[in-house]
Symmetry: C2
Subunit: 317 residues, 2 copies
């Protein structure tokens, strides 16, 4: 059993101060001190992941650490921001060294891969939950918001859909091997940071897909004052999804399942091919799935009355 301070010191290793990551003072004082880049906007977001609401409490701790950071970074991706720093709040029922070490390994691994510096955090006792605040930078003229879609724009998604819901279904069916592609999509999502930065000069609007395509498309349309027509048959399905769920449920998962963490963008038709080329260079597909319209509402969906995954609704892992 270790004290809070020892846990923090051992596993929340600070980013070194004075290096090129803009951390003037890291974990261990009352605040971290950061040096933002002159002229850039600071994009900030926080997401809290609660055990057995957002992820299974029994998931591998390294995946819990990776995933908690990934879902926050996904918000930076949707704004076209470059990730710089994060803060992490870990609440856990007991001070279990091995668990925390594996958790930290997953968290720090994604920090390193995404170029984000852990600048601070706290460890408290309670029901297992992880809160991650991310901070990124973006030039004011390059910011991607939800509100810039225009009638006539093409709607397109990165990667493939339904993997979050499919992976959850696989978990519930007893799958535990992280080599399973769907389980990986659910437990080890990859934030589309490079894609967001590559698309921000071409797209008019973007949102990350956390609540499900239909719900998030609804948010984008509401912010833009538009409607949309969806072509469900065009949706790119995650690897193994049809095999796991069958064709009908796979299409349904792609439309209303949460936790995909792909980007949905609206862009002028002439920008679709240049955007595809940029993402191809990153090894990522971009698929046109519909159009922005001036008619309120979302037409074309084959899922009835589903507004996406919400908390408090009883739909938990």
């Amino acid at each position: 059993m270790h004290s809070e301070f020892e846990l923090i010191a051992r596993y929340l290793a600070p980013a070194p101060a004075g290096d090129d990551r803009g951390v003037a003072l890291g974990v261990g004082d009352d605040c971290a001190l950061l040096a933002p880049t002159t002229g850039q906007r600071l994009a900030v977001s926080v997401d809290t992941s609660v055990a057995d609401v957002h992820f299974p409490a029994e998931a591998p701790p390294s995946a819990i650490g990776h995933r908690a950071l990934a879902v926050s970074l996904s918000d930076l991706a949707a704004m076209g921001a470059r990730p710089r720093w994060c803060l992490m709040s870990l609440t856990l029922p007991e001070a279990d060294d091995a668990w925390v070490a594996a958790f930290a390994q997953g968290f720090h691994g994604l920090c390193a891969k995404s170029g984000v510096a852990l600048a601070g955090g706290d460890v408290t006792r309670g029901e297992l939950a992880v809160g991650v605040t991310v901070m990124g930078e973006v030039a004011p003229e390059r910011v991607l918001t939800r509100g810039g879609a225009r009638p006539g724009d093409v709607l397109a998604v990165t990667g493939a859909l339904g993997g979050g819901a499919g992976g959850l279904a696989r978990w519930r069916a007893g799958a535990r091997d992280l080599a399973d592609p769907l389980l990986r999509r659910y437990l080890l999502p990859w934030p589309r940071l490079e894609a967001g930065q590559a698309l921000c000069e071409l797209a008019g609007a973007a949102i990350d897909l956390s609540d499900g395509l239909l719900a998030d498309l609804g948010h984008l349309c509401a912010a833009s004052g538009t409607g949309a027509t969806l072509r469900p048959e065009a949706l790119p399905l995650a690897e193994g999804l049809v095999e796991a769920l069958g064709e009908s449920d796979a299409r349904r998962a792609a439309q209303s399942g949460g936790d995909d963490y792909e980007l949905l963008v609206a862009l002028p038709p002439a920008s679709l091919e240049p955007a595809r080329a940029r993402l191809a260079a990153l090894g990522l597909a971009l698929t046109a799935i519909g159009e922005v319209t001036d008619e309120p509402g979302i037409a074309g969906s084959t899922v009835d009355g589903v507004a996406g995954w919400q908390h408090f609704s009883g739909d938990t892992p």
Copy 2:
């Protein structure tokens, strides 16, 4: 029963974009967009407050909202930073409109009084907890850290000590009236933001008192590579503390009780009177309580072997 989105929209009212608070885009997109001041350091900190670990679950919701923000702002105070923005993560077991409305009133009230703009947040389901990320700004040459104490410096504290522990004792004894001064100190602490900014040109080091004087003095000494001599008889005691706990336990609470959220500073002897004058102008006392030494360890304490309040230690409200 309201959906997550409705709760967020209704109670996490964003700071208006485009005003003088540096919020370019507020709550409701994937990220908030902030405009940091050129040349300033960004001071960031996060604190998570868990029900029945950090505060009583049955406390008035407006106090829970106030307190969760106050403990994070206290970290900015200790760095001498001016508060600018915050993000708030609320985890709660059910969507109770009246509770959330009162919570938000306490949170927004302190936002307004401290000049901090709520820039974003999330609402999730789970055991009651509140995570608050605060961001402030400070000129690089004015930063207060824990590491700048020098042998010969005077140790001084703002306000009065023991109120956090005394208020907790009053709560446990059944006190519920927030007119009780000790209960107010525990449930409605006031972050010493103006004091921190007023002291940063005079003090060499500072820390806020969250874990208890002895523990936090230990952190300050460790960061500064010094020791300290404490004069327990000099400690300023919170109003009503002796009456509530008796003389001996009151002195003990002032030394090892947590949750006071006063500032402990180390400053050259010649700076003590100017510092007192600055705080007097704010209506706040500054009391010399000991000296910084070059001898490792803390001498003079009348409390045996107490390293302050820690999580995982079983000492919960």
